[in-house]
Amino acid sequence: MVLMSDHIKALPTLGVGASLSLSSKPDPVSLVQTEGGPSFVEYAGLVDVDAIIEEVERVRAAGAPVLYHPSHINFCGSYANSKTWLEATAQHIEAVDSAWFAQDVAYCFWETGAAYSTSLGYFVPPIFNRASLEKAIERVKEVQDTVAVTVAIEPPPLTFITGTMPLFSFFGELAERTDSAILLDMGHLVSYEMASGKKVHDELAQLPCERVVEVHIAGGRLKEVADGPIYVDAHECTILEQTWQMFEAMLPALPNVKAVCYECEGVAESSVLPTLKRIRRIVRELSASEALVASLDGVV
């Protein structure tokens, strides 16, 4: 196991925050200013920082740091990222002072031309084999060469699985060989279990847990199909019981979590605060990250 680098240890602890759309409900500024609101705001935005900087500045002026979490980087596969888009991403991150840069490891565009994952409908997941891992290492390093902050890689939502390499073997080796941090989305882990029939806890030994700096929890839907349920990411929906269980099971194994993010774009404002409260309660009770728990002192 490769030792975790100082740059990951040194990342700031951001507490329990929310992923929101900057220009629609629930309003990020209003939530940040409410007691028990998010301590940071994460957003998926356009690559050009000029397009969103005014809205981001409103959030920062309200007292919350922001994390940029886009969906236009190919962190896997044969198709290289555009230098122009990478440079714009780096400028974006610097301008909004995002403490790290995390995105799902997936295909956002195919062959020629940079684009958002919406160009493919949504993320196309990587093939889980060794050749694919080598390509993913190339892609992550390509981003690291341009982006100044720590890169965090995230297992994507998985409707289906291609390849036989276990999820945490793939991501563990990818993180160590690129010296990246890791973001774990609890719903995505549930999706992996349903699509593969495997249990992430059986693979936990392959995951460099100390590299996990961020945890996501979000709403989802189950689609019943012939061979059992399939998890579908749906941030506007309520958090499924399986996702809460995954959250409770994973937190004790992750000693270095700096941020827990409730992805709640499109969720009614009235239900965001109670959910944040529940997340904080679970963090206090179960998180192995002392810094994260300490960051909740005095917060409802």
Partner: protein
């Protein structure tokens, strides 16, 4: 070993319904034409066929919800035709999806035009009207693509419209770049109001839940108040990554269309008005024509040669 071949297989499984259906029945036979060794082929054994079908359907749905914004009225009309929504879904295939994202709307729109020609409308007239609307929407998509390509290649800046001088009537005029025009049966905004019940963002979902009724389609398309729709694309946000294009639109009476033939860079508005006067046009009509030309110049749809 060919990882690139594996990537090709994965893409084709997502966007080639024939291959996907074959794969769900017999994986080995479906992948026989790809250059994969046993281990590479074995990587696809982990795919749950039911999950793959679900994924592909959701993916096509999301791509269509995006494309629907470029062709709102045409999508709405399609939803009222037998199997119209299925045809739209079938167009999300490897041909559409291998096109560069910046060109995808035009690639898709051209293919949709081919499909339109094969549908049975209530009458030839109705079909021609539906086609004219699609041509207008395709013109806007094409203009947007062209403009973005130029900006990405040359870094075009947002332009500021020129102020017309006192002598504007005398100067020869020509059609500006990134302008398209089409004759449509009614005002585009009015058509959209009647045929698209919700905003562009929500339209695809709405049409799947509640397709446009045949009676509303027939009634609307055969209500005639024809207009010349003139649209000019312009860069609303310049960028080296994703320039944003917006449109200025002007709707003129259908009778204005023949005057466009004189807009060739050699004559000015005054000369066109003089010719109209010589063939007996009344003062009120001449004022209307002059006003329309001024509007087109103000909006940058015409420019001085």
């Amino acid at each position: 070993m060919s990882f690139e071949q594996q990537e090709r297989v994965m893409f084709d499984l997502l966007f080639d319904s024939k291959l996907r259906n074959q794969f769900c029945e017999d994986q080995v036979r479906a992948l026989a034409n790809y250059d994969l060794d046993e281990a590479e082929q074995g990587d696809f054994n982990t795919i749950r066929p039911d999950a793959l079908q679900l994924d592909a359907a959701m993916r096509a749905d999301l791509v269509l919800s995006h494309l629907c914004k470029s062709f709102p009225i045409s999508f709405s009309i399609m939803s009222s035709l037998p199997n119209g929504l299925d045809v739209l879904k079938q167009l999300i295939d490897t041909t559409t999806m291998t096109s560069a994202s910046i060109e995808r709307a035009t690639v898709f729109g051209n293919r949709l035009r081919e499909q339109y020609a094969t549908f049975s409308f209530a009458s030839d007239k109705e079909q021609a009207i539906a086609m004219a609307i699609l041509e207008a929407e395709l013109g806007m998509a094409w203009t947007s693509t062209s403009l973005k390509q130029v900006v990405l290649a040359k870094g075009l800046e947002i332009e500021i419209n020129a102020v017309l001088g006192d002598d504007w009537l005398e100067k020869p005029i020509k059609l500006a770049a990134y302008v398209c025009a089409a004759i449509i049966p009614q005002s585009y905004l009015q058509l959209k109001k009647v045929l698209c019940a919700v905003s562009d963002d929500c339209l695809w979902r709405q049409l799947n839940n509640t397709p446009l009724s045949v009676s509303i389609r027939k009634k609307t398309l055969l209500t005639e108040d024809p207009r010349l729709l003139v649209v000019r694309g312009y860069i609303s946000r310049s960028s080296q990554c994703e320039p944003a294009v917006d449109f200025k639109t002007v709707e003129l009476s259908e009778g204005f269309a023949p005057l466009f033939q004189h807009v060739n860079g050699t004559v000015g508005v005054a000369e066109i008005l003089s010719q109209l006067s010589q063939i007996g046009a009344q003062e009120q009509m001449l004022q209307g024509v002059q006003s329309a030309f001024k509007q087109l110049l103000d909006y940058g749809m015409l420019e001085f040669a």
